[in-house]
């Protein structure tokens, strides 16, 4: 049984194969009945729009159906049931489980109690492998993944997408430039892990100092819920903003990515620039998740 829990479990070959399959799917070369008769269970213990809907869309395009747990308040979780028990029970209802949960390691735990494949759709500040795969897919459509110089900008402490992406890119010899407001820097454990994987991380205090050297700028939002009050949030959130003028300092081929939703960190005027790839990135979520569903259930 194949689970997809963390990019740490994947080697370069496994990632490349999934991305190749996603490319075939995007080119409409796939069996629309591949998962006919299969049921996907969606268990989202935290809000989600893109991830949940793109998994539902992916399942529908492969001929399968989705069952959604609905809100936590309306489920047995509200009665105090453990995640382990929930997973054991629903394993009898569905053919695969997609799980988002606020606790780190929740998907790993779920995989130990499930009798069907589990896909991690985000666990707290931990891993979000489907987002990472679609980030890699989007980059690969613009340039080879090998030897990239990528800038990670924003909340690098709690932002799970940046952790997963950095770990995955270490398989491709990336150089990482980290730009974070004070207090939201990459955790030392991640920096150490990247160093152990042979990937250097250089920290910058302002994106202006490094943008001219980048192939990819990966922007994330500051999460308001991490701050005790609105004033301290606004103070940090307004410390960076990507504008057309800033992008003008970059090399022409540099692309701007963002896992979305964005708040104010990217000026809407950037949307029209050829460098802006974040909406394409969100659309690629369906092809990539179709490849993942095919991998665990096909």
């Amino acid at each position: 049984m194949r689970h997809i829990i963390s990019v740490r479990d994947m080697d370069r070959r496994a990632i490349d194969e999934l991305l190749d399959r996603a490319a075939e799917i995007e080119a409409r070369r796939y069996d629309p009945n591949l998962l006919r008769g299969k049921i996907l269970g969606l268990f989202f213990f935290e809000p989600s729009t893109r991830t949940r809907m793109s998994f539902e869309s992916a399942m529908a395009r492969l001929g399968g159906v989705s069952l959604n747990m609905g809100s936590v308040e309306a489920s047995s979780v509200a009665k105090g049931e453990t995640l382990a028990d929930t997973i054991r029970v629903v394993s009898g209802y569905v053919d695969a489980i997609v799980l988002r949960h606020p606790k780190e390691g929740a998907a790993r735990l779920a995989s130990e109690f499930a009798s069907v494949p589990v896909i991690n759709a985000g666990d707290g500040a931990g891993q979000h492998p489907s987002q990472t795969l679609l980030d890699l897919y989007t980059i690969r459509k613009s340039m080879p993944l090998d030897g990239l110089r990528i800038g990670l900008l924003g909340d690098l402490r709690y932002g799970r997408t940046t952790h997963s992406l950095a770990i995955a890119l270490s398989l491709y010899g990336a150089e990482i430039a980290a730009v974070a407001p004070k207090g939201l820097e990459l955790p030392s454990g991640i920096v150490q892990e990247l160093a152990d994987r042979g990937t250097s991380v250089t920290e910058y205090s302002a994106v202006e100092d490094v943008i001219a050297d980048l192939d990819v700028l990966y922007v994330t939002r500051i999460q308001r819920e991490r701050f005790p009050d609105m004033a301290s949030y606004l103070d940090v959130a307004s410390s960076y903003r990507i504008t057309p003028e800033l992008v003008g300092l970059a090399r022409p081929h540099m692309i701007v990515l963002h896992p979305l939703p964005r708040i104010d960190e990217i000026d809407p005027r950037v949307d029209a620039l050829p460098n802006a790839k974040y909406f394409e990135q969100a659309h690629h979520g369906v092809s990539v998740r179709m490849a993942m569903l095919g991998e665990v259930m096909g």
Partner: protein, 154 residues
Amino acid sequence: MTPEGPQGLLIRPIRHGTVIDHITAGQALNVLRILGITGTTTEEVSVATNVASGRVGRKDIVKIENRELRKEEVDRIALLAPNATINIIREFTVIEKKGVEHPHELLGVVRCPNPGCISNTAEPARSRFIVVPNGLRCHYCDWLISKEIAAHIL
């Protein structure tokens, strides 16, 4: 005779049990903790700390009466005292002498310091850490403990 006075045994020999020698100075009590030996367990234990040692300068020694440590227990010690040697004693005689090896993983020994980790909830998740070159990595949340491992022993 040394200038400090006559030399002698700090703690007496044991008839049966385990002597853990060459423990990194100051780590003896942590070694006992990682073995699950506390004031509430029944083993008869002798501890000597900061003993002069020709080989390592200063060392700690622990003697545990009537208990022969198992391999997985011995290997836990490697995390705190990689140079420790284990002597299994029967009838006052060393019948087996061995070093310690880093275990592949630790089950139920160390608490994950990450408050957001699923292993720190009411879920049936037993603490599980993978031993990596620079410390311990949580099996669930990937948190890396790279220093002060003893502070996280359950």
